[in-house]
């Protein structure tokens, strides 16, 4: 089976600094793939390039046989590759439900003028969005906080809201940026189950950047390890745990790193 998404020799340079150097790997349909590495390894930059939030210096990202790097982010989102952000990036003064309704923009059938005049298609859209928002929040176990203003939510719920917003776009590939950061063990386990059910029940391919090693080992089908902008390893969690380069990368910087 050909891979759903291919990262091919992707390089990003900021002036003299190389954030990512010739990174290549494939993402298979329906897998959960984690990108890990010490701080500054270039994980976030890589995600930004996959979602086309920043152009590549060279190399390309291929999705379903089509090049998606260096396009506008909303076009890549339209194709089904959607990125979520860390918890501060939300619609602060919207409620949870409003955020999820607005995030279904891509599913809209009516034109902007249709919305203005209140055409039938537009009304049907809104009804469908609200219905799906309720379903989605139910699925994510967020029905109880649907009416809460996003700015009043605790961190864990914000993370879930980020995922809800991402899922509302009906993505094929969801890129999660540190979904477990700052969570305690129970919250992390809930989130791990949630991410897994997103893949299992919704058929969404998930890529995540994460620091929480136990969670990563638990959830991932495969792991890509970056260090100083280079890919140093790729494989299943057990392969990665026994990879010498990976151990060196982490242990070699134990002081300023997460201390694994």
């Amino acid at each position: 089976m050909s891979p759903l998404l291919q990262v091919k020799n992707v390089t990003k340079k900021y002036g003299g600094l190389t954030a990512n150097n010739a990174i290549s790997f494939d993402v298979a349909e329906n897998e959960i793939l984690s990108v890990i590495g010490p701080n500054g390894a270039g994980k976030s930059t890589l995600f930004k390039m996959i979602a086309s939030f920043t152009p590549t210096t060279s190399g390309e990202v291929i999705y379903q046989g089509e090049r998606i790097s260096n396009l506008k982010p909303h076009i890549v989102a339209r194709k089904g590759v959607v990125r979520t952000f860390q918890e501060t990036t939300i619609f602060k003064s919207m409620t949870v439900r409003e955020s999820v309704v607005v995030a279904q923009h891509l599913r809209a059938k009516a034109s902007l003028a249709g919305y203005f005049w209140g055409s039938k298609t537009a009304k049907d859209d809104v009804t469908a969005f609200e219905k799906y928002a309720d379903e989605l929040l139910e699925f994510l176990g967020m029905s109880e906080i649907a009416g809460e203003q996003a700015s009043n939510l605790p961190q864990g719920s914000l993370r879930a809201l980020g995922i809800a917003i991402g899922l509302a776009t009906d993505p094929k590939v969801l890129l999660l940026d540190e979904p477990f950061a700052g969570m305690n063990h129970d919250e992390t386990m809930n989130m791990v189950n949630l991410v897994r059910s997103v893949r299992d029940e919704r058929g969404v391919t998930v890529m995540l950047v994460e620091h929480d090693m136990p969670a990563v080992m638990n959830i991932s089908d495969r792991i890509v390890v970056l260090n100083f902008g280079e890919k140093i390893a790729e494989g299943t969690p057990s392969e990665i745990q026994n990879n010498e380069k990976v151990i060196e990368a982490y242990l070699g910087s134990v002081d300023d790193e997460i201390g694994m």
Partner: protein
């Protein structure tokens, strides 16, 4: 009805009654005919302010509405005086022209955010003023004067709008015209804000990155909104030129642009009808303080600062508070 609560409908009813029947009655009883001109000005400035409010709605501080009002005034004046168009056709044409200019200017500058966008728009008014001084068609510093009053319109021999020149009381006619256009503007604005387009604007106002990650074409919506905003500016400006029967490069200045923005702040950025109230209060407030002579500006600015400091959500936040009509 139409998704409004009965309370809102009553409010709108009272408002319409006041401006179309109440105000003329009061003015007739007191004999203060000059109030028509004041209130007409408020209505027109409120139309332009509505545009500024809309750009706030996508998270952009717009201090350039004076530029578009001036463009609208000139386009209408030139079409009426030099091309012999009817004023009523020149009015939407002025709005459209302002919108087209906004698209051309907006393409490069709408990428900017925050204070950078604000600074560029601040310069726009001056640029348009200088352009009007330089171009032959705008007649330089002399401007365009003796603009004829709006002529009548009839369709298949049935008069729809009377000829303003043949009227005894053009003040009242202009007042009604301005009020009708203002109401249409705010109805359109209300509809826009409460439609899905409004929700997309809110998503952009709150987080452009996230908005684009959910597939919103943010640059397209920014342009559309800026064009609509400037359309309102052009419309207000064109009406103004017609009432004053003249347009000069100084008809709208940087100070006017700043006032359009202040109207929005004062009324409340969270409420569609904020700029309307803001314009009314600001316009009358300035006049009422006239008695203080040289202290007029001092008192005026102090009050403004206090209001912005203690009522950051504008005057409407006092009455409506949380969860009122947006």
């Amino acid at each position: 009805m139409l998704g409004f609560t009965s309370k809102q409908l009553i409010g709108v009813g009272i408002f319409l009654f006041m401006i179309f029947i109440g105000v003329p009655l009061i003015i007739g009883a007191t004999g203060r005919w000059d109030f028509y001109f004041t209130l007409t000005s408020v209505a027109l400035l409120a139309i332009a302010s509505a545009g500024v409010w809309l750009t706030f709605y996508i998270g952009r501080i717009n201090i350039g509405q004076g530029a578009f009002a001036l463009i609208g005034a000139y386009v209408s004046a030139i079409l009426v005086v030099k091309a012999g168009w009817s004023f009523w056709i020149s009015l939407p044409a002025a709005g459209l022209f302002a919108a087209i200019v906004a698209i051309l200017i907006g393409l490069p500058i709408l990428r900017l955010r925050g204070v950078y966008f604000a600074m560029i728009t601040l310069v726009l008014t001056q640029v348009v003023t200088l352009t009007a001084l330089a171009l032959p068609i705008t007649n330089g510093a002399k401007g365009i004067s003796n603009i004829p009053l709006p002529s009548g319109i009839s369709l298949f021999g049935i008069p729809i709008l009377p000829d303003f020149a043949g009227m005894e009381n053009t003040k009242l006619a202009f007042y009604y015209t301005a009020c009708v256009i203002m109401i249409l503007t705010y109805a359109a604005l209300y509809r826009l804000v409460n439609s899905r387009l409004g929700h997309l604007c809110r998503s952009m106002q709150q987080n452009e990155e996230l908005a684009s990650s959910i597939g919103v074409n943010i640059s397209y919506i920014r342009i559309v909104i800026f064009a609509i905003s400037s359309f309102f500016g052009g419309l207000g400006g064109a009406m103004f030129g017609s009432i004053a029967q003249s347009v000069y490069p100084s008809s709208f200045q940087v100070a006017d642009s700043v006032n359009f923005m202040l109207n929005c702040f004062l009324g409340g950025l969270g409420y569609v009808f904020g700029p309307m109230l803001g314009t009314l209060v600001l316009y009358f407030g300035w006049d009422l303080l006239f008695e203080f002579g040289k202290y007029q500006m001092l008192i005026y600015s102090t009050v403004l600062i206090l209001i912005i400091r203690f009522l950051p959500n504008g005057l409407l936040s006092i009455r409506i508070g949380k969860g009122g009509d947006k």
